[in-house]
Symmetry: C2
Subunit: 333 residues, 2 copies
Amino acid sequence: MAELRRDPIGGRWVIVDTDHPTKPEDFEHESHSWRGGVCPFCYGNEALTPPEIESFRDPHTSPNTSGWQVRVVPNKFPALQIEGDLDRRGLGIYDMSNGVGAHEVLIDTPYHHKDIPDLLNEEIEKIISMSCRRAVDLGKDKRFKYIMIFKNYGPAAGASLEHPHTQLIALPMVPKNVMEEIKGAHNYFEYRERCIFCDIIRQETQEKERIILENKYFLAFCPFVSRFPFEIWIIPKKHNSDFSHLPPEEIPALASILKETISKVKKVFANPAYNLIVHSSPVNGDSGGVEGYHWHIEFMPKLTRVAGFEWGSGFYIIPTPPELSAKYLKEVK
Amino acid sequence: MAELRRDPIGGRWVIVDTDHPTKPEDFEHESHSWRGGVCPFCYGNEALTPPEIESFRDPHTSPNTSGWQVRVVPNKFPALQIEGDLDRRGLGIYDMSNGVGAHEVLIDTPYHHKDIPDLLNEEIEKIISMSCRRAVDLGKDKRFKYIMIFKNYGPAAGASLEHPHTQLIALPMVPKNVMEEIKGAHNYFEYRERCIFCDIIRQETQEKERIILENKYFLAFCPFVSRFPFEIWIIPKKHNSDFSHLPPEEIPALASILKETISKVKKVFANPAYNLIVHSSPVNGDSGGVEGYHWHIEFMPKLTRVAGFEWGSGFYIIPTPPELSAKYLKEVK
């Protein structure tokens, strides 16, 4: 019989198919197909992006020329724009606002075909450091309440360019799911005076069966209440609500666990599309209740396509139990 | 500049791209590709499904033979199973339960290639009547708290069989998104003593620009805070919280607006995959607060694939403003 599981943070129930679990080879494999054309993220094409905001680059090279390792530019087609004050107003029963915010693209690497598993640890550390720097910088703007950092890899995951990149969106409000996560964690904290994420780490470390990888500072595991098959969380073992203030000594450990985790996923599935989302605390907040919140990364390979239904209903059926996903990922060399 | 809009029911903010709206021809078209094999839903293959639960069929024909117009069978691979009592228990920090529920498939028509726009109004009325009958019947089981009725059309929308069909899942708990919708509507009702959906109908009818179709009993419109491009709601004009107790005189009007709406979508897009979800009040409820709730259908053509990110963050970017979607749909003949 299938199993129903309840997310202890948000209270969502999901159905886990423990009877006929879907094996990795049963998921349909989709090859990535890209539009051709000149890549604006490759060396020599720097003029094809808006002028860079920040970069790590070889000394004696100039902005907007090659010689960079990580490069941040404004998104050419931003979802939100940086100019102007937030202007909230009503429209009968509805509420609206102008689209103030920021939308930046962090080009992960000069190499068009190198995703995280193909990079050196030091190169991944640069992506992480730059993400933190940009989050800190954007957070200084008092109009913004949340800095969302995420990565879409592959067209099936929503990427429109092949060259690996990460996106940052600064929002004038905290997204609903983030707010719910924070509230859920805060309720638990009020009741137990403990961080729910720390308690999850404790239970997962004890039970072991959903853990994929572990190092001094981080844990990678398939959450008990996953919403997607082979969903993975990467979480710092030491309590910290804010990704952008990641202690420098934790950066190499994060780079290494990220690289190893995604390598494992790519060995189980042939180069699947994926989404990676950093869940971190809001900025400039009187949003309250960040107590008990704990930053983490949610990683989701794009294996199934039952989108609209789950989207619309909030009701998830997980074809592969997380215990089994973790087993596959753990065992692959 | 883009526009931020807030859903008055759930409080979710979305970004609407009013600057560079995506036109219908800009969405990538995906052709449906199906696995071959004998169709278990066609006439003559009745033995390939579990025995039928109920059907509308020609007099003098026997169950599980041809001669039916609409046929309901248990799902061969059910997400939940009908036997047993609900057994909720804790597992450390987590909560779980066995998978008690029901999962039925309503075969819409004997015709393998006829979707709703290709059927006669009377045939669609039979699908609606049977959906209501099954929902009423499943609702008699006191273990169930919610009857979810939905339709996935096309592989991109999660359908695994080509032959048009509808699904019913009876759940031992109310799904999170439904609960939020009910709570949001109830809060509004407590504050204003009016149904928020009735107020939305009033405002949309006044503003007109998002309305696609209207008849005596129903309205089809693109909601002000859509989460998907070309999302459409079909809502009864007369307040009613429960789809399964649809007044008989409204059934022909619903069949006709459904047929016309989906026909329009199929004229704007070449036979797109879609999801259709009935949002109705819970059953056997002490869930409270159904006051102010109003049943409706949410229809979402599957045009974009930016799934995981929105899924994971709850943060939606709408490439086509609903006003523009409604205009395209209204104008197509």
